[in-house]
Point group: C2
Chain length 418, copies 2
């Protein structure tokens, strides 16, 4: 594992800074004076890479790639360009660089910017690839003996989500209405969800297209980077709607992602193998090397006017299937993948109670409310703010994603009032 | 019901012509000399509406809407523009029009064109809203007493499909590989699907966006038009993968649509009510009037070098839920809908054996192979060509969608060979 790459941007060299020169995550920012544009976080600043490109300080290819308020064009340009950008930015920002004077005008304090969606989501797929989560949920719904569906240890189970639901961190999330029916209700009713929840996930951002089936190695190379992802879930809507075709409106209200895409290159030192296989996988899912990442994750819950309680701590390394395996499986049917496709990992729970990545698990279906500062929770209450955080710890440095935050605001009084 | 609107394009006046002046369906065509562009079918011709607009013969708004190889920009312009285009084209093409000389150069023989995807699919959702189909499939999987899931008579059940799977009629469909496991197999294997199938559906094309929940009336007004839709389905992949999160790779190989979008305006005379409700629907799903359409549908199967057998005849009026109800339900959670979203109706079967809209039902899970000219089928064989057709019968005229055709070509010998 390499150590900190020192930058002349001093704040980037602090061991706890989430944005050292080793990171260089990709986002889209605006200020009071500028429209949304591509930027890269470094220390306490955003580097205006769109401006750098315009000034001729990047010169990656013949045409501009960063003059748009999303990273899709850069992703589409391919892995050689991704590497060239990283190398060039590293050279420009490294301690001792001769370009300090030229680059300094393009540093904008993070405190002064608004962050936007870092990329245009083409399609969104959500998986169910965490062993502990699948076991917990299965136990609640079907008992411990039938907890894991028979296919679970063979297939990275996934379903297509709704791309239009994906929003950037900081966007308020309105509690949804939906069809609900409790097990003892005679008939369903239409009402606001009373069991609104989070799912702590990582999202893999597909940066290259494919047409036919791809191997796990090829899939890994197609992934541009990773974001934190909160798959907001209305459990009461889900319970009534999900048979036989899977979750639909229960997952369509919002999907919040972190403002920064941390590139695969930045995560490289933190690769870690997936856990031992309980049953052999079919050869098309074989991993040529470690395909997960050691990313420490936590969830904080803050009631309106209250203080934050960290309600879960876990790690992306707990997943049973990697994003590369999920993506390879996704292509088996010949399904075309496109630049900007987003794959949610599935909820990342760990083996202990304090590692659970959803309130459904933390409160065991609402039967065991858990303590927070000044109260308790089974599911999310109005005006609660939920935050996901992730970090990789290198030698003398940290890789961060920026907070992935959403505040749940009350349901509309009448969803059809105009 | 209005009768034929006569055109000076004589071929459009034949009672069996699918493209009379009453229709004016929207497509994208190219010729040996022109790149793909927007066109409208009339009689034996495509009217080059992009050319008409360029020539100043349409003048719908300040800016051009049809200078792109898709109808999304026109759809986005809104219902008033949709109506204005229809009125203007009707005036230009009507018998006795003074514009015949100006318009004639923009008529291209249908025989000389290649048809392309008529619109850019934003996201694709597939429903399961045919009562007969749900009952048939449920009976096969769970027995007649548990055939309909408990939610089925309350919710237009749907799942998110894969927009990248949608292709235009005429595109070959390659038999997919996938994970398969028969009920008696000890372990799954990776192999070409042996139970590849069609689903006869209609697709509703969303032409206006929404942010919050919309009523059924509002939803109906958002629909620009309808296409024929074949939801190709690998039944063996589906059976093994679909629990608990629904169909995924089994439905991702291809989804074929007809080359022409028949507008809601053209279908207006054929509105028909949905069937009697077996259980009362929640008020948000109430229909203010007839929301289905009387569209006669059929499926033809032609083996390589053989002759076509019509294997199914049914009607869109057999659906239990309308597209407007499906779209309204789709928005309940606050799910944003966008121009170019496509909603598959679900398989349209009728009450009799000859009305079944999938081979799964026609062969009762493969147990009762059915006869075709020169042979029999349980599922699709390599090099079979499947065609869906739809028509509305007015007084002295017919509304058609163009054939929705796909030939199934053999699976790759090795999907990972490069």
């Amino acid at each position: 594992m390499t150590g900190l790459i020192r930058s002349w941007v001093e704040s980037a060299n602090a061991p706890d800074c989430p944005f050292p020169l080793n990171n260089l995550p990709c986002g889209v920012f605006s200020t009071a004076d500028t429209d949304p544009r591509c930027g890269v976080a470094i220390g306490d600043f955003v580097l205006d890479v769109a401006g750098l490109e315009e000034k001729g300080l990047l010169s990656l290819t013949g045409g501009p790639l960063l003059d748009v308020p999303f990273w899709n064009d850069l992703m589409e340009a391919g892995p050689e360009i991704w590497a060239a950008l990283r190398a060039r930015l590293t050279a420009l920002l490294a301690e001792g660089s001769g370009d300090r004077e030229a680059v300094t005008p393009f540093l904008v304090p993070l405190a002064d910017v608004t962050l936007h969606m870092p990329f245009l989501v083409s399609e969104y797929t959500d998986f169910y690839a965490g062993r502990h989560h699948a076991f917990n949920v299965g136990t609640m719904f079907r008992g411990p003996e039938n907890a894991l569906p028979p296919n679970w240890l063979h297939i990275p189970i996934g379903y297509n989500g709704r791309a239009s639901s994906v929003v950037v961190s900081g966007t308020d999330v309105r509690r949804p209405w939906g069809q609900l029916k409790g097990p003892d209700d005679a008939a369903p009713r239409f009402a606001p969800s009373a069991r609104f929840d989070i799912e702590l996930e990582m999202g893999a951002v597909v940066g290259q297209p494919s047409e036919g089936p791809v191997t796990v190695t090829e899939a890994d190379a197609m992934i541009f980077g990773y974001v934190l992802l909160n798959d907001w879930s209305a459990r009461d809507i889900q319970a009534w709607e999900y048979q036989p075709l899977g979750p639909f409106q229960s997952k369509a209200t919002a999907t919040t992602i972190s403002p920064w895409i941390v590139t695969r290159a930045a995560l490289e030192p933190f690769r870690t193998p997936s856990p031992a296989r309980e049953k052999p996988l079919l050869p098309y899912l074989a991993e040529p090397g470690p395909m997960l990442y050691d990313i420490a994750l936590e969830v904080g819950l803050t009631p309106e006017g209250g203080t934050e309680t960290v309600i879960s701590r876990t790690n992306y390394a707990e997943m049973y299937y990697s994003a590369a395996q999920q993506l390879a499986h996704h292509t088996t049917s010949g399904c075309a993948m496109n630049v900007g496709d987003l794959l949610g990992s599935g909820t990342i729970s760990g083996p202990e109670k304090g590692n659970r990545g959803s309130l459904l698990e933390l409160s065991w279906g609402g039967k065991e409310p858990f303590e927070i500062a000044g109260g308790s929770r089974s599911f999310i209450q109005d005006n609660d703010t939920l935050v996901l955080r992730g970090q990789c710890r290198g030698e003398g440095y940290t890789i961060g994603f920026g907070d992935c935050v959403g505040k749940v605001i009350p349901a509309l009084a009448d969803p059809y009032a105009r």
